[in-house]
């Protein structure tokens, strides 16, 4: 009996939270956009959210590409198929690792920072004070951050994949001695622009939307104390990572599973 009561209360809480999050989203994006004011604010946020995540994305992309080439080579060389190293690295990066790893890193690097920043703005009454100055904080604070996240993350994912493929080249070709021509040409013969690259970009746009939505909402909805903000930041990382992995499965099934 108690179990059912808990379940019911939990479900209601979740639904209520989802409702609040949807309200926030609509308030920020749908209601009366003001592009002239939005664009400079969004550029500033792209700097914070995107440019400052660039280093971690490039470094991880490089290493993941290198590790994949190393692992792939040792397996493929047994079958004399080391020529397929190129497509293996490229396909796994473009279809999966690019969007997913970028999303996870983005959630940890930029998502948590967004939540903490908005939470602190709430705690220091900056959001309230905007409201009292007759400026809608949803449009002034939340909307530029949402747009910046949605724009930046797919860009980061593209860079991640490109750097990863170069990293794979570095290890596979320059170090392990796979033929450079076959690395590229078999990759080119296998990778399809629409099926692989575009689907990867679509994935990362979906992830970007979900992560930024969760991050901004968790900050906006946080309890404005140090404890509340730290909880909100943790929840941002946990929820958005889980959401990314879950959505990845659904998207992969839709894109590649059913031919």
């Amino acid at each position: 009996m108690k179990w059912f009561i808990n379940l019911g209360a939990n479900t209601l809480n979740r639904l209520e939270m989802f409702g609040r999050a949807t309200f926030m989203l609509f308030g920020a994006i749908v209601a009366k956009p003001q592009p002239l004011k939005m664009i400079p604010l969004t550029i500033k946020q792209i700097h914070v959210v995107g440019v400052q995540s660039l280093l971690i994305i490039v470094v991880s992309g490089l290493f993941i590409g290198m590790v994949m080439a190393l692992q792939g080579y040792t397996i493929l060389v047994d079958y004399g198929a080391e020529g397929s190293l190129g497509p293996m690295v490229a396909l796994s990066l473009l279809r999966e690792l690019g969007p997913v790893v970028t999303a996870l890193l983005f959630a940890g690097r930029a998502g948590s920072a967004l939540t903490a920043e908005i939470g602190l703005m709430k705690a220091t009454e900056q959001l309230s004070s905007l409201e009292m100055m007759a400026v809608d904080p949803l449009r002034r604070v939340i909307a530029p951050r949402l747009w910046a996240g949605i724009i930046s993350m797919p860009m980061l994912a593209l860079i991640f994949s490109a750097v990863g493929i170069l990293g794979g080249h570095l290890v596979g070709v320059d170090w392990l001695g796979v033929d450079s021509g076959s690395y590229w040409s078999i990759m080119q013969a296998t990778v399809d622009w629409n099926k692989d690259v575009v689907n990867g970009i679509i994935k990362s746009i979906v992830f970007a939307f979900v992560i930024t939505w969760i991050a901004t909402f968790k900050g906006y909805d946080s309890i404005p104390t140090s404890e509340g903000i730290s909880k909100a930041t943790t929840e941002t990382v946990v929820f958005s990572s889980l959401a990314v992995l879950g959505l990845d499965f659904i998207l992969t099934a839709l894109m590649f599973g059913i031919e």
């Binding site: 400079p40 550029i43 500033k44 792209i46 700097h47 995107g50 440019v51 660039l54 490229a90 473009l94 930046s152 860009m155 593209l158 860079i159 994949s161 490109a162 750097v163 493929i165 590229w184 040409s185 990759m187 080119q188 013969a189 990778v191 399809d192 622009w193 692989d196 690259v197």
Partner: protein, 155 residues
């Protein structure tokens, strides 16, 4: 001044993304925009194309000279019609050339093997829109086994 720096860095970020996108498009997915201009189209009819796919390679002695553009079924005689785009770099193939569908390695991808014919006087070179008459279909394992069984019964 501070916002100028942010704008600059965002500009660099966008440029990097475009570079990455171009690299993926040209080097990885081979969406070369030039290819459609600097190539000519040839057609070939096969009885059976096996596992040939769009974008499979067309090779002469192992050298890729073009790609399969399109595969359709010819409506008049119900045979597969393969459209190939061949780079204009290689435009000296005589009309007597033949094509066959081959497999790279035991389990590899299928591709079109292009066998240039003899250039005798009076034989013109293949040009845009020409059909290659001499074609050999893909080997289908089931057919092969069938043939083997029948021939051994007869013998």
């Amino acid at each position: 001044m501070k916002s100028k720096k942010a704008e600059l860095l965002v500009g660099v970020f966008v440029a990097l993304t475009i570079a990455a996108g171009l690299m993926l498009a040209l080097n990885v997915a081979n969406q070369s925009m030039a290819s459609s201009e600097d190539s000519y189209i040839l057609y070939a009819k096969f009885d059976n194309i096996g596992g040939l796919k769009v974008r499979s390679a067309v090779k002469v002695g192992g050298v890729t000279v073009g790609r399969v553009d399109n595969i359709t079924l010819s409506n008049s005689d119900f045979t597969p019609l393969v459209t190939m785009s061949i780079s204009t770099e290689f435009n000296q193939f005589p009309e007597t050339s033949s094509v066959s569908i081959l497999t790279s390695g035991l389990l590899g991808e299928q591709y079109i093997g292009f066998q240039p014919g003899f250039a005798i006087d009076g034989v013109e070179n293949l040009a845009q829109g020409d059909y290659i008459e001499d074609t050999k279909s893909a080997l289908v394992l089931e057919d092969l086994i069938g043939q083997f069984l029948f021939s051994s019964n007869d013998g």
